[in-house]
Symmetry: C2
Amino acid sequence: MRPTLQTVADAVGVSRSTVSNAYSRPDQLSTDLRDRILSAARDLGYAGPNPTARSLRRGRAGAIGVLFTTGLSYAFSDPYAVQFLRGLAESVERHDTGMLLIPMSNTDEEASARAVADAVVDGFCVYCVPEWHASLAAMRDRQLPVVTTEIRDDHRGDEIQVGIAERPAMAAAARHLHALGHRDVAVLIADMAPATAAGPLRVDSPDAIRYYVDRERAHGVAEVFPWAEVTLINAAGNSRGAGAAAAAHVLDRAERPTAILACSDVLALGALDAVAARGLRAGADISVTGFDDVPEAARAGLTSVRQPSVSKGALAGELLLENKRETADRRVLLPTELIVRASTGPAPSRS
Amino acid sequence: MRPTLQTVADAVGVSRSTVSNAYSRPDQLSTDLRDRILSAARDLGYAGPNPTARSLRRGRAGAIGVLFTTGLSYAFSDPYAVQFLRGLAESVERHDTGMLLIPMSNTDEEASARAVADAVVDGFCVYCVPEWHASLAAMRDRQLPVVTTEIRDDHRGDEIQVGIAERPAMAAAARHLHALGHRDVAVLIADMAPATAAGPLRVDSPDAIRYYVDRERAHGVAEVFPWAEVTLINAAGNSRGAGAAAAAHVLDRAERPTAILACSDVLALGALDAVAARGLRAGADISVTGFDDVPEAARAGLTSVRQPSVSKGALAGELLLENKRETADRRVLLPTELIVRASTGPAPSRS
DNA sequence: CTCGCGTACTGTATCGATACAGAGGAACTG
DNA sequence: CAGTTCCTCTGTATCGATACAGTACGCGAG
């Protein structure tokens, strides 16, 4: 059997409490005794206080759970998500806390829900999880502090929210295109559950879009362009390849839109790939906008809606772990800004 | 006080064990009683069995710790790392296990070491952590199963290893360049501790390179080109920007090398950026090779050494969590392949 | 000499569950 | 009707630590 605190205590001839103090509260005992205890522990091959037992007794897990969309794969391949994670990691680390990644499977929601129920954590951070996902219910059952990256009016309970005003942010991109003379535009979204086929989609209203963020952004477009005249394009996932494939569907049509508003830079970059593959010139033959303003967008000359990424994550972690949680703002709205680059230009005249 | 199993048991008038069974072993009691228990639990606001307590009693944390290089930031921005993580996540998930990310701070190694010591996990996966990092010692103290992504002859203890033959893999790229007539080449590495300045570096032998993987790859180059004639370039980190900045140092020299062998695609792509920024043509004026063969490499026409990414992660998870750990191979060597694209071509004749 | 006080260590209760042996009773067997 | 088996449920021991109140003792002050 592996040694425990008691094993060490017996070996040195002191009480278990004292050995515990040797590790966790060095000021509670003489240096001499402490050294004797630690060296005895080494001799016995004692691995140090068991973190699980410590967590139980202390009532603190020392980690937060991060609920991530879509089997991790897309999440990680979006530079925006990566930056968010990085900010989160940094602030979480400052609080001597870890990050337990909990991927949200689309194929087996129950597995994800189980993972949430079993997670040894002190709180949760929800990033881009569709509202209907079973794991969210499991998370609420835990009754732990939660921070989400969406600002919603219909938000449940007392979740902390850190996010942007999705609708006006996207509307800014739409207005930009409208001012350039575009009248026939398409919106490119990533279906978060790969149930719907890739390609053009007919929905009567933005409200029919299942995932909140995309829905709000579509509403932003609808503030500028009559929704009935907007083409909605569904991508098979939030990846560059999926964006290219989805964009291809409308680029090959006789009457193609003069502009595409993508709900993420990753999708937009994919659209640019598809545009280039057809020998079209982005910003001239067709305009494309993205969302997030990831570093890659600057390299590609993509017009995009910038939103803070790293600081969004950092703030989420901060608010979640701050103990003076009562006083702090439970809802933080971050600024956005439209960055205009070469991928948008005047609408081509109809031939 | 929050309700516990006992609270629910008292409310229903059964024993604590029975309530526990209602959650964890439904077959042990009648459906009728189970329903009564679960509904009573709901009424009482019982959040379900406490995962920490469960972990302690079961002797299983239900998570593995992932030790990641350099404050998470670079790790996540390398698509290769992301793919590895994805594979790892998938296999870990199959075992009903979670992933606790443990970022390795370079500025505060002790903080990382503490995070490792306190992590509630059943094992560790080490990805790209420099061997001198304090957290590795802390990890070994835990005496838990470990899998690393490096195949080393001098490996300690009984770590499981999943990796590639670094030296011959890189040598293949070097031979490819040699066959194209290149004689003056540079090796681009990412210093894992940002102690050394970016730019050309003089070291007597590849052995002086601190980080194992880079060291081995440099040895691979040295198998083909006399080391004394190879220029070593240090980048400030494993990022595209750092790669570009480092490459710039030698591109602007009067006698620039005719080829650059980068130790990662991210660095190589940065080098390509620097090449393009100077109006040079990759594959003609200068050749560039990468390592990993990430999707981006194909788009950029980058010659690269392909290594399995997703399956490397998946295999690491599998070997770590498989319970028949005794019989399984504790050391798995994965294949690599040189993928030749447009970024390499014949050496330009000296003018 | 007694009181007060700080330092160094001890002992017990407790964190919240699961494992496992076993009890009680119904049903089936011969 | 005793014997066996199965199904439900119970009770106690236990996982490995930390919290906290308390003891013992040395030492300076009044």
